[in-house]
C-alpha cells in the first residue's frame, strides 16, 4: 500500500508517522507542502505538529497551502485521507470534516495515554478490528471537538463518529473526557468514511517500549483492509 505524508512548515510528527507506516509495510513517501501534486498514493496522511506555527487558528494556514487542493481532490475521488492531531485540525479547516477543535477545557496542553472506543467498523480504517477499545496517546492544546447541533445530529445519523474518549472498560463520561470534546468525540469521518481525522496519535503506540502497542493494530488493520 502506497502512502504519502505531507510536511508543512512546523509539522513535527512527520518522521514518527513515516517510521510507523514503514514499520508495517506501507511504501511511504514524504511530500513538501509547496509541491503541486502528490505522487500516486492509496493513503495520504496529514501529520501532527504546529503547521505554520498554529498562527491565526490551528490548521487554518495549512488549509490554504499549495498542496491542499490535491489533497481535497484526492479525498473527493474517494482516496483515504488520515489527519492526526494537527492533521485533524487542518481537515476541519479545509471543510473535508465538520466542526472545529477548540482549546482544551482546562486550558492546558495535555500529553497522556487515553482509551478510545471504536464507534463504527463499517469503514476501511476499523473494519474487522479485533478490539473495541484502544489505548492511544494524545498530545495537544486544541483538541476539544465542537460542532453545531445539526452537524452533531448528522454525524450521529450517518455513523460518522469514529472514536470517542472512554475508560479502560469502554465507559464514556465526563471523567474519561480529557479535553471537553462534545460527546467525548476523539475522531470523526466524512460522509463517505474515506477521510478520518482524530486527535490521538497511533504512531506513538507501535512498540511495547513506548507508551503501548495499540497503534500497531490500527496500522495493520488499514493494510489488511486494503488487501
Amino acid at each position: 500500500m502506497r502512502s504519502s505524508v505531507i510536511i508543512f512548515p512546523g509539522s513535527n510528527c512527520d518522521r514518527d508517522m513515516d517510521v510507523a507506516l514503514k514499520k508495517f509495510g506501507f511504501k511511504n513517501q514524504m511530500v513538501w507542502h509547496n509541491d503541486q501534486s502528490i505522487p500516486k498514493s492509496d493513503l495520504i496522511v496529514l501529520p501532527g505538529g504546529f503547521s505554520y506555527g498554529d498562527y491565526l487558528r490551528c490548521g487554518s494556514i495549512a488549509s490554504k497551502s499549495k498542496i491542499i487542493k490535491s489533497v481535497i481532490d484526492f479525498a473527493n475521488s474517494g482516496g483515504l485521507v488520515l489527519g492526526i492531531c494537527n492533521g485533524f485540525q487542518i481537515l476541519t479547516e479545509t471543510g473535508l470534516l465538520n466542526g472545529i477543535l477548540q482549546q482544551n477545557k482546562f486550558l492546558n496542553f495535555i500529553c497522556c495515554n487515553v482509551f478510545v472506543k471504536v464507534k463504527d467498523k463499517q469503514n476501511k480504517y476499523f473494519k474487522d478490528l479485533k478490539k473495541d477499545v484502544l489505548e492511544l496517546h494524545i498530545a495537544h492544546n486544541e483538541g476539544n471537538y465542537f460542532c453545531s447541533d445539526d452537524e452533531l445530529k448528522s454525524l450521529e445519523d450517518n455513523n460518522q463518529i469514529a472514536v470517542t474518549y472512554c475508560g479502560k472498560d469502554g465507559s464514556e463520561n465526563e471523567t474519561t473526557n480529557p479535553n471537553g470534546a462534545i460527546k467525548n468525540i476523539a475522531g470523526i469521518f466524512n460522509k463517505n468514511k474515506n477521510v478520518l481525522g482524530m486527535m490521538p496519535h497511533p504512531e506513538r503506540m507501535i512498540d511495547k517500549y513506548l507508551s503501548g502497542e495499540d497503534g500497531s493494530l490500527f496500522f495493520k488493520n488499514i493494510l489488511d483492509n486494503f488487501k
Partner: protein, 730 residues
C-alpha cells in the same frame, strides 16, 4: 550622546572598568562601542567572577569529544554517534515575564545544541519557585510551565525529565534551568571557530527587533522594587521560526558549506560575532545596514544589543552563498550577507557608509576583566543530637503521608502532562522516573538524562552539597540501567560581590570537581548565573547538575515500579540514619540545622558499579535510588508506580526506626530481585563488599511494617499524587 563615566555605570560597568576601557582603547569609546564593551564584559558573558574557579573543573575523559568553551559539550556514545548537551539558566527573565522567559530559555538551549549540527532529541528542566504560600508562586509556576511547554511542544522535541522545588529563598528570584540533548554524527560536528580571510559572514533566521536589549546586563545585576520596568529586556520567543531554523540549518549542515556557526544568544550579534572572530584569531567587519530589521530606524547600538530570538551567524565557504540562500528561502527565513572575516583582528562596524565602531577583538574577549573575588569558607555545622523520645509521639504512617504530600516530594504530573514527552517516538522512560530515557533513533542504544540539585544541602555545607549532587545524578542514571558518562552544570548563586555567596560558589564548584573526578563523570558544558538576589536577599546556592548516561541495549533499561509479587526487596548501601537536613527533620521536627549527609565517594562508585553490574546481568527487575525522604519514601514510590505493596521485615540491630526509614544517607539504592537470582545477587554484593539489607518482599496492595504501618496503595496515592494539582486549582 557623550560617553561619560556616568553613562558607563548606567550600562552596568564599574568605574574602574570604564577607565580600563579608555586606557586599552587609548580613547573614550563612542556609545555603540561602550554598549559592546558592556555586553561583553558583564558577568553573564565574561564569567569574570567565576572563570578562575571554573578552570579547575574536571573536564576530560575517554568519551569527551568537546568540553566547556563551545556552544555545548559533546560525548562519544560509540558507532560514530555523539551526544551534544548543555544546561543553561534563564532565571532573571523568567521572574520578570515567566512565559516568555522560560520559553526563550528552552529556545536558546536548543539553538546551542543544533548549532553544533545535532538534532535535539530530548529536553529537561530544573525549575525552582518560592514558598507555595508566597503570592507570586502560583502564577510564576503556571507561566513557566506553559512557556517551557509552549516552546518545546511546538518544536517537537520531547521533554523527558525535570525537577521542581519550592523554597522561600526563591521568593524574589525563581530559577529556570533548561537542558537539551542532541544527536550528531561525530564526524559532522560544527564549531564556532571562524577560519579563513574574506569569508562571507551570513545572518539567518528572524529579523532583529528592539526586544531583549540589555538582557545580558539585566541578568548580571540584582533585582530591586522596579523590576517591572525591566520587562522590555525580556526576549519574545517564536518556536515556529526556531523549528524552521533548525530544519534549515541541519539541511545546510549536510554538506561542507559552513566554516563556523554560532547562535545569537545573550548579547546577540555582539557576542556571536566577537566569539567567532576571537576563537579564529581573526577580525570581522559587519555592515549593519544589511542586517534584516523588524523595526524602522534601528540604530547600530540597538542592532548590536538586540536579543531577538531565533537568529544565527554563519561564516560560510566562499561560493556557497547561493546554495545556502536557496535552503533558507525554502524555509522562508531571512538570509543576508552582512560582512566578512578580516585580518585586522578587530570588530569593525559600518553603518550608512561610516565606520561606527572599531574595537580590537582581544580587548573584548581575552582582556575582559577577571576577578579573584574574596570568599568565605562555610564551616561544617555541628551534628544535631535528636531527642529520640520526642519521635515516639509521631506515628510512622503519619510521617510518611506528610512527607509524600510535601511540595518537594509529591508527584509533579500536573507539570509534565503539559509537556509533550512522547513526540519523536523514542521516549522509553517518561518523566517521573529516576531519569528520562530516549532511544538513539534506529539503534538499540538509549540515552538517559537527569537533572538534580540539592539547595538545602548546599546551603548547609557547600562543599558536601556540591559533591552530593554529582553523586545523586550518578545514582539516578544507574537506577535506570545507564552507565554515567558526563555532566553539564548550571551554577545558580547569589551576589558574587558578597563573600558568603562567593564562598558558596567556590566550595560547591570544589565539591562538584572532586566528585566528578572520582566518579570519572566529567563536566563538558555549563553556565553560571550570579546575582540571583532581590533587595539584598539571595537564593540558597543551587548548582544544578544535568547528567547523561548510556544504555547499550535499551532492553536493559530499568524502571522503579515493583514488578512481581513475591520478589525480594533489598536496600543496597548502608543506612546510618542521618536525619540532619532531612525532610523528616524539617517537616516533622521543625529542625533546619545540622550538616548534610556525608558523601563517601569510594562507596558511591563501588556501590554504583555493583548495581550497574546487577542490572547488566539482568539480576534485578526494578531499581530506585534513595534520596530525599529516605527509604520509606523511595519504597512508597515503587509501590505506587507498580501498584503493588511491600511487606517490610523487622529491622535488625539497634537502629532507631525513624532514623532508618527517613534518614537521608547517601549511596543507597532499592532493588527488586526475583527469587531465582537471589544467590547470584548475594555473591556479587559480597564480592564487591557492598552492605545490603533485606528490606522485605513485594506483597499485596499495601505497605506494611509490623503494627506501625499499614497503608494501602490508594492511601499512598492520595498523599503523593494530588498536592500540586490541588495547589494549582486553589
Amino acid at each position: 550622546m557623550e560617553v561619560t563615566e556616568a553613562v558607563a555605570i548606567d550600562h552596568g560597568l564599574k568605574k574602574e572598568e570604564f577607565s580600563k576601557i579608555c586606557e586599552l582603547l587609548k580613547r573614550t569609546p563612542n556609545l555603540t562601542e561602550l554598549a559592546i564593551f558592556s555586553a561583553m564584559w558583564n558577568e553573564h558573558c565574561s564569567y569574570k567572577s567565576s572563570r578562575k574557579h571554573l578552570k579547575k573543573m574536571h573536564t576530560k575523559g575517554k568519551q569527551v569529544i568537546q568540553g566547556p568553551g563551545e556552544n555545548a559539550g559533546v560525548i562519544d556514545i560509540g558507532d560514530d554517534d555523539a551526544i551534544v548537551f548543555k544546561i543553561e539558566s534563564h532565571n532573571h527573565p523568567s521572574f520578570i515575564e515567566p512565559y516568555q522567559g522560560a520559553a526563550t530559555g528552552v529556545g536558546g538551549i536548543m539553538r546551542d545544541v543544533f548549532t553544533m549540527g545535532a538534532r535535539p532529541i530530548a529536553n529537561l528542566n530544573s525549575i525552582h519557585f518560592g514558598s507555595p504560600q508566597h503570592k507570586k508562586t502560583r502564577n510564576l509556576l503556571r507561566g513557566v510551565v506553559k512557556g517551557i511547554g509552549g516552546y518545546g511542544n511546538c518544536i517537537g522535541v520531547p521533554t523527558i525529565a525535570g525537577q521542581t522545588t519550592f523554597d522561600e529563598s526563591y521568593n524574589g528570584n525563581i530559577l529556570v534551568n533548561a537542558m537539551t540533548l542532541g544527536l550528531v554524527n561525530k564526524n559532522k560536528i560544527f564549531y564556532s571557530k571562524a577560519a579563513g580571510l574574506n569569508k562571507p559572514v551570513i545572518y539567518v533566521g528572524s529579523k532583529t527587533g528592539r526586544d531583549g536589549i540589555h538582557g545580558a546586563s539585566m541578568a548580571s545585576a540584582t533585582f530591586d522594587d522596579k523590576i517591572e520596568e525591566k520587562k522590555p529586556t525580556v526576549q519574545v520567543g517564536d518556536p515556529f521560526t526556531e523549528k524552521l531554523l533548525l530544519e534549515a540549518c541541519l539541511e545546510l549542515m549536510a554538506d561542507n558549506s559552513i566554516i563556523a556557526i554560532q547562535d545569537m544568544g545573550a548579547a546577540g550579534l555582539t557576542s556571536s560575532s566577537v566569539e567567532m572572530a576571537s576563537k579564529g584569531n581573526l577580525g570581522i567587519e559587519l555592515n549593519l545596514n544589511k542586517v534584516p530589521c523588524r523595526e524602522e530606524k534601528m540604530t547600530p547600538y540597538e542592532i548590536m544589543l538586540s536579543e531577538s530570538q531565533e537568529r544565527m551567524l554563519i561564516v560560510l565557504e566562499k561560493g556557497k552563498e547561493e546554495h545556502a540562500k536557496k535552503i533558507f528561502d525554502k524555509w522562508n527565513l531571512d538570509f543576508a550577507i552582512i560582512g566578512k572575516t578580516t585580518n585586522s583582528k578587530k570588530i569593525e562596524l559600518i553603518f550608512n557608509n561610516k565606520k561606527v565602531a572599531e574595537i580590537p577583538i582581544d580587548l573584548l574577549a581575552e582582556n575582559a576583566p577577571i576577578y579573584d573575588r574574596p570568599w568565605k569558607k562555610t564551616k561544617l555545622p555541628q551534628k544535631l543530637k535528636f531527642d529520640k523520645d520526642e519521635f515516639k509521639s509521631l506515628k510512622l504512617s503519619d510521617c510518611l503521608k506528610k512527607i509524600l504530600s510535601n511540595s518537594n516530594v509529591s508527584d509533579k504530573k500536573w507539570i509534565w502532562d503539559q509537556y509533550d514527552h512522547t513526540v519523536m517516538g523514542d521516549t522509553i522512560q517518561k518523566p517521573g522516573g529516576d531519569a528520562g530515557v530516549v532511544r538513539v533513533h534506529g539503534t538499540n542504544k538509549a540515552v538517559a538524562a537527569s537533572v538534580d540539585s540539592s539547595a538545602l544541602y548546599c546551603f548547609s555545607h557547600p562543599l558536601t552539597g556540591g559533591k552530593q549532587i554529582v553523586c545523586e545524578s550518578y545514582r539516578n542514571l544507574i537506577s535506570v540501567g545507564a552507565k554515567p558518562i558526563a555532566i553539564t552544570n548550571c551554577l545558580n548563586f547569589g551576589n558574587p560581590e558578597k563573600e558568603k555567596n562567593m564562598g558558596e560558589f567556590v566550595e560547591c564548584v570544589e565539591g562538584i570537581t572532586e566528585a566528578s573526578k572520582y566518579l570519572d563523570f566529567p563536566v563538558v558544558s555549563g553556565n553560571v548565573s550570579f546575582y540571583n538576589e532581590t533587595k539584598d536577599k539571595g537564593i540558597k546556592p543551587t548548582p544544578t547538575i544535568g547528567g547523561v548516561g548510556l544504555i547499550p541495549d535499551y532492553q536493559q533499561m530499568l524502571t522503579m515500579d515493583f514488578k512481581t509479587e513475591g520478589n525480594l526487596v533489598y536496600v543496597i548501601g548502608k543506612t546510618d540514619g542521618h536525619l540532619d537536613q532531612s525532610i523528616f527533620a524539617r517537616e516533622l521536627l521543625n529542625e533546619k540545622k545540622g550538616p548534610p549527609p556525608t558523601v563517601n565517594l569510594f562507596n558511591e562508585k563501588n556501590i554504583g558499579e555493583t548495581v550497574l553490574d546487577l542490572s547488566r546481568k539482568k539480576l534485578i527487575v526494578s531499581c530506585h535510588d534513595v534520596s530525599i525522604g529516605g527509604i520509606l519514601t523511595a519504597v512508597s514510590k515503587m509501590c505506587i508506580k507498580g501498584k503493588k505493596g511491600i511487606k517490610i521485615n523487622s529491622l535488625k540491630g539497634l537502629i532507631n526506626k525513624y532514623e532508618y526509614f527517613f534518614g537521608e544517607d547517601q549511596a543507597r539504592y532499592i532493588v527488586e530481585i526475583p527469587e531465582v537470582s537471589l544467590k547470584r545477587v548475594k555473591e556479587i554484593l559480597n564480592k564487591y563488599s557492598v552492605h545490603f539489607d533485606e528490606l522485605g518482599t513485594v506483597n499485596g496492595q499495601s505497605i506494611a511494617y509490623k503494627d506501625d504501618i499499614n497503608l494501602s496503595i490508594e492511601e499512598l496515592e492520595d498523599a503523593y499524587k494530588y498536592w500540586l494539582k490541588k495547589y494549582m486549582d486553589s
